[in-house]
């Protein structure tokens, strides 16, 4: 083997090694990019509306903000109620977005219109109102602190991971289910539709900036085990993000 040939062989080796490394970097990058794209929030953010009012709670003044959501039994009902959902699956779903953005250090009043029926909570604990101002919520004009476990349609439950860099935020709102005996027919475009619903209002105070998640604690998906499949195991339906900014 001549010296020239050896040099070329070594050069090829280096080129092969570099090419191999670049190929691996490209493959890892492609996987990362794909995963990032797949996990990206598919929905537009729903921003709370700040008002000019303030409120004093325990000697401290907070600006006020409001935000409104709905929870619908399926796509048809969502559209009937004015939420033009783009979700591909015909699941029970919150709307108009599952990614909500709230201002920090603010008295947030949230309204949820609930149109779904219900069965029974797995964990009665989530029938309690937790984390709101006064420990209550208002259901169709009546303040309550708890809903019986067998009368809940869904819950709106905000979690926060223990973190030294984020204020704790744990809020649980059980939504009163809708049944045949409820009053208050909702206005619908189709007179034949018999949708009824409840309006739940509650207030809580946000801390500093941070990212949280929320989900429904009522087993409203499908699957033979605990009904946490389908809507409960897919993004954009019964769970989402809470950005406090």
């Amino acid at each position: 083997m001549s010296g020239n040939q050896s040099t070329m062989t070594a050069g090829k080796r280096v080129a092969s090694a570099v090419f191999g490394v670049l190929l691996m970097v490209a493959a890892v990058g492609a996987v990362g990019f794909t995963l990032h794209k797949a996990s990206a929030d598919p929905q537009k953010k729903l921003f709370a509306t700040k008002t000019s009012e303030t409120i004093v709670i325990e000697g401290k003044s907070y600006p006020k903000a409001t935000i409104t959501m709905g929870v619908y039994a399926d796509t048809a009902q969502a559209k009937e109620m004015g939420y033009n959902t783009t979700n591909k699956k015909d699941y029970v779903q919150y709307g108009p977005s599952t990614h909500i953005v709230l201002p920090a250090h603010t008295y947030v009043t949230m309204t949820i219109h609930g149109y779904d029926g219900g069965e029974k909570l797995n964990a009665p604990f989530f029938g309690k109102v937790i984390g709101t101002v006064g420990g209550t919520m208002n259901v169709d004009g009546v303040d309550v602190s708890e809903i019986p476990a067998d009368q809940v349609q869904h819950t709106f439950t905000i979690h926060s991971l223990p973190s030294t860099n984020r204020d704790p935020l744990f809020i649980n709102i059980p939504l009163q289910h809708v049944d045949e005996g409820d009053d208050g027919l909702l206005p619908t475009k189709d007179p034949g539709t018999n949708f009824k619903g409840h309006t739940i209002t509650f207030s809580f105070i946000t801390g500093g900036a941070g990212e949280y998640v929320w989900n429904c604690e009522y087993p409203c998906g499908d699957g033979t085990y605990a009904k946490f499949g389908a809507a409960m195991s897919a993004y954009g339906y019964m769970s989402g993000k809470v950005s406090v900014a």
Binding site: N215, F228, M232
Partner: protein
Amino acid sequence: MSDDHGLVEMQPTPGQKLAAIFKQREVRVATAWGVLVTFIFFIIGGWIYPSWMPIAMSTDMKSIERLIVIFTWISAPICGIVLGFSIYTFLHRHKGDTPPADGPAIRTNSLVVGLWVIVSSALCLVAIVYGLIEMNTASAATAEHKKNAMVVEVTGSQWAWSFNYPEQGVVSHELNLPINRPVEFRIISVDVNHSFWPVQLGVKVDANRLQTTVVDTTPNKLGTLDVKCAELCGLYHAYMETSGEVMSVADFDAWVTSHQGGHTA
């Protein structure tokens, strides 16, 4: 064994065999690497790794921490020897296009094999016996705990924990405990299986669907608790965490008083 002249060939003793092995420079260098790696793992296991672990807030956690340190020390020589020879082999690997001819095949070396089996067995035996003693100590402590234990009913559900204190009449999503009082956790899941893991208490127990599992511990240090789910349980498993606190008896009583008949806000 004798040769053609009737002379008896003396078989080397095990000591001579061992000495012959260690006369080889390669073995001495590889062994030196092994000793160095063993020493490094000994230091990591005894002093560095414990500093990475969560603060021990119960005797159980302290016991687990000690067990991990001792097991690391026990396994350090084995890891050291394997890595030592690996390092030597890597550093003295063949460079170039034409590989050298294979060396003579090593059919067997009863001494080395025997030593390896005996030492490995002894280390395993120590680990087993030590583990059994620790387990027995924990069981004895459990019996003692039950006399004055405070019951906390732990419910796992996708994807949050809730804690019921029947004696105090409190339900909470935070795990608050008084210091130095034994706690009996009654753990259950209402949907899929979870795993209850208050990290600093050294407890990690499966929360099985509709089956109650009981485990005891005694918090003995004030501080914050991280409570996690250690069993993959669905979409928001990663968020199935909460916090808590081991607090003074006075603070715990005050917390109970402020939440009796309700829940934590």
